[in-house]
């Protein structure tokens, strides 16, 4: 009927989170090879992660590093060569060079194009199908209508994010590490040990404005090598619309969230999507949206899907 996916960056997250509502898990943090025990950059972690996901009866997709430089290509290739010997259901690839590398190897594993693959048109999707891409995550700026057009006219499976912070920009260096000295203005705050002491384990926010409506109040969440929207994307109220438009693969973004987040969000969407696919009348979403709002420090958004600024929210009405 549908596939609900989420992510886990390492084995700790995979063990501590409640993934029971999901059909598939993307393993790894594609933005930061330094992230502790990251599946994307640690060959020795792959087997344990794969085994755990499979033991839950779920599909398991491995994420590849999104922005490899020349010097990253050798270790990424080593990881790919090892992963190709394992029963992953697909690789998620953001980088065109890695697509070419996989094709040159004669790999037949299905490939999913990730969010930083910059997919905007069905013609690009057609080109990427020649490289073995079977599923695409369109650029967040695309509206639902545009995503549906790509799905229908390529044709290709499309992953539609339905909840969680939107990845907006990715970096080759860590913004948190770059500013770590200045961060510790308090003499009581323990100093980091080296260039990276996993300071991203604490939440980092970028804010602008006075929070009183007198200026544009903007917020972003920074995870070091990636900056996410401050607000959480939320499409709960539009579950039946998503079904009517023909979508059936959905994604919850959970990087940087608490260990309870992935389970709570998953259950709400599983229930809502099941009802929508079975044709049940839409429930009163207000209490559920209130629950989701409580988990979103800066509020909810979905504007891109409705041809507007990403930070705006459009309810069912």
């Amino acid at each position: 009927m549908f596939e609900l996916c989420t992510e886990a960056c390492n084995i700790k997250e995979l063990r501590e989170g409640d993934y029971s509502a999901y059909d598939a898990t993307y393993l790894g943090d594609y933005s930061c090879p330094e992230y502790p025990n990251n599946f994307t950059s640690n060959i020795d972690q792959l087997e344990a992660g794969l085994e755990l996901v499979k033991s839950r009866g779920q599909k398991c997709y491995l994420r590849l590093y999104a922005i490899p430089s020349n010097h990253d290509l050798p270790w990424v290739e080593d990881l790919i060569d090892t992963a190709l010997t394992m029963p992953f259901d697909a690789f998620e690839v953001h980088n065109l060079g890695l697509l070419r590398m996989l094709k040159k190897k004669g790999s037949t594993i299905p490939l999913h194009l990730g969010v930083f693959g910059n997919l905007y048109t069905h013609e690009t999707a057609k080109t990427l199908k020649d490289y073995g891409v079977t599923r695409v995550c369109p650029n967040p700026e695309l509206s639902l209508k545009e995503i549906a057009y790509i799905a229908e006219n390529t044709p290709i499976d499309t992953l539609v994010p339905v909840h969680g912070k939107i990845p907006l920009v990715i970096s080759e260096t860590c913004f948190i590490v770059e500013h770590s000295e200045e961060c510790y203005s308090s003499p009581d705050e323990p100093r980091p040990d080296g260039p990276c002491n996993y300071q991203c384990a604490k939440e980092h926010w970028l804010k602008r404005g006075r929070n009183d409506g007198s200026r544009a109040d903007w917020s972003l969440k920074d995870t070091g090598r990636m900056t996410l929207s401050g607000k959480d994307l939320c499409m709960l109220e539009h579950a039946s619309t998503l079904v009517d438009m023909g979508f059936n693969i959905f994604y919850v973004q959970s990087k940087g969230e608490s260990k309870d987040y992935v389970g709570k969000i998953g259950k709400i969407y599983r229930d809502a999507l099941q009802k929508a696919f079975s044709g049940e009348a839409a429930p009163d979403y207000a209490p559920l949206v209130a629950n989701l709002s409580a988990l979103a420090r800066e509020g909810l958004c979905n504007g891109y899907y409705f041809e507007s600024a990403g930070q705006r929210y459009f309810g069912r009405s």
Binding site: Y120, E123, I150, H204, A216, S308, G310
Partner: protein, 327 residues
């Protein structure tokens, strides 16, 4: 011989850079390039620029580097065929599907440059784009000479670099950033059914430069003492140019479609002289350009600051009005 391209954000600028010795001018097509309409040329201006360039034995390359909508692709192809028939000698494109289709329909002697919107990070990316039909791949303005040597060693496609750069690393811009449109974005169709956008660096119109405003960085309960911007800005450079050419760079790109014609004219003149010196001598004296280039860097920063302030004010006003409308 390396080709030096310079920008034509206006008809006046296009002529000026050709007069100052650019081998080619690159101009944005209204609604199809990563700038606001004030820095793009309409069809009449494009035709006049091509005529002017032809009389001087120079070339025009057209910037059509927005990520088009799927439904705009036929219109995109019709436009580039038309401009090629007028004498345009190349196109700058970001969308992979559009690159592939453009290669299929354009004459072989019309060249395709990939745009920085492709967001490449390694030599395998360059190979991919070459396979798709690109004649030139522009590198991001943060790669070192060594990285460029690695890329040219692995590729036979032409390599293009900007004549400005940022320190290595940091946020990938342009090509993989959507901060601007997250805060402000709207879309409308014109009478011809063409999509126009405001606020998206990738889809058209101006990036609203939200990375350049004053952000407060909070970590838990701690807050930075001073506000900060999120990204460093590129600066004009020169000293490494001989090494870049020796590394195999085949096309140099003077930046500045959105700057004043006077500034861009001066920048083009300096780089033309420097490139001629480098190509004409084993030991070019580039130190003689240092003082003038430093002055130009200052003017560049001043104009950028004015532009950023304008765009940020727009972004703030639009954002405030939009949020007020939803209350």
């Amino acid at each position: 011989m390396v080709m030096m391209m310079a920008p034509g954000g206006t008809l006046e600028m296009a002529r000026a850079v050709l007069d100052e010795g650019a081998d080619a001018v690159y101009v944005g097509v209204v609604g199809w390039s990563r700038r606001g309409a004030q820095d793009e040329l309409n069809d009449d201006e494009i035709a006049r620029t091509i005529d002017y360039a032809t009389t001087k034995g120079k070339e025009v390359r057209l910037v059509v580097n927005t990520m088009p909508s799927s439904t705009e692709i036929p219109m995109f192809l019709e436009h580039i065929q038309r401009y090629a028939s007028w004498g345009a000698r190349g196109f700058m494109i970001s969308d992979i599907g559009a690159i592939r289709l453009a290669r299929e329909i354009l004459p072989k002697d019309v060249e395709i440059h990939t745009s920085v919107g492709c967001g490449i990070t390694n030599y395998e990316d360059v190979k991919f784009l070459g396979d798709a039909g690109a004649n030139y791949v522009v590198l991001p303005y943060r790669l070192s000479v060594e990285e460029i040597r690695q890329i040219t060693a692995e590729n036979s496609v032409g390599i293009e670099v900007f004549l400005f750069k940022t320190p290595s690393g940091g946020k990938i811009c342009p090509g993989k950033c959507m901060m601007s449109s997250y805060f402000n974005f709207h879309r409308w169709l014109d009478a011809n059914g063409k999509d126009h956008f405001h606020g998206s660096a990738s889809r058209g119109g101006d990036c609203l430069r939200v990375c350049q405003t004053d952000w407060k960085f909070n970590m838990g309960q701690l807050e930075f003492d001073e506000p900060m911007t999120l990204k460093e800005n590129p600066a004009l450079w020169l000293e490494e140019l001989p090494e870049y050419l020796a590394a195999g760079v085949g096309c140099l790109k003077v930046p500045g479609r959105d700057r004043s014609p006077e500034l861009v004219r001066s920048i083009t003149r300096v780089y033309r002289q420097a490139v001629d010196d480098i190509q004409g001598s084993d030991h070019p004296d580039l130190a003689k350009y240092a003082a003038e280039l430093e002055t130009l860097r200052g003017r560049w920063r001043t104009e950028r600051h004015k532009r950023d302030n304008r765009l940020l004010s727009e972004a703030e006003n639009l954002s405030r009005n939009a949020m007020a409308a939803t209350l």
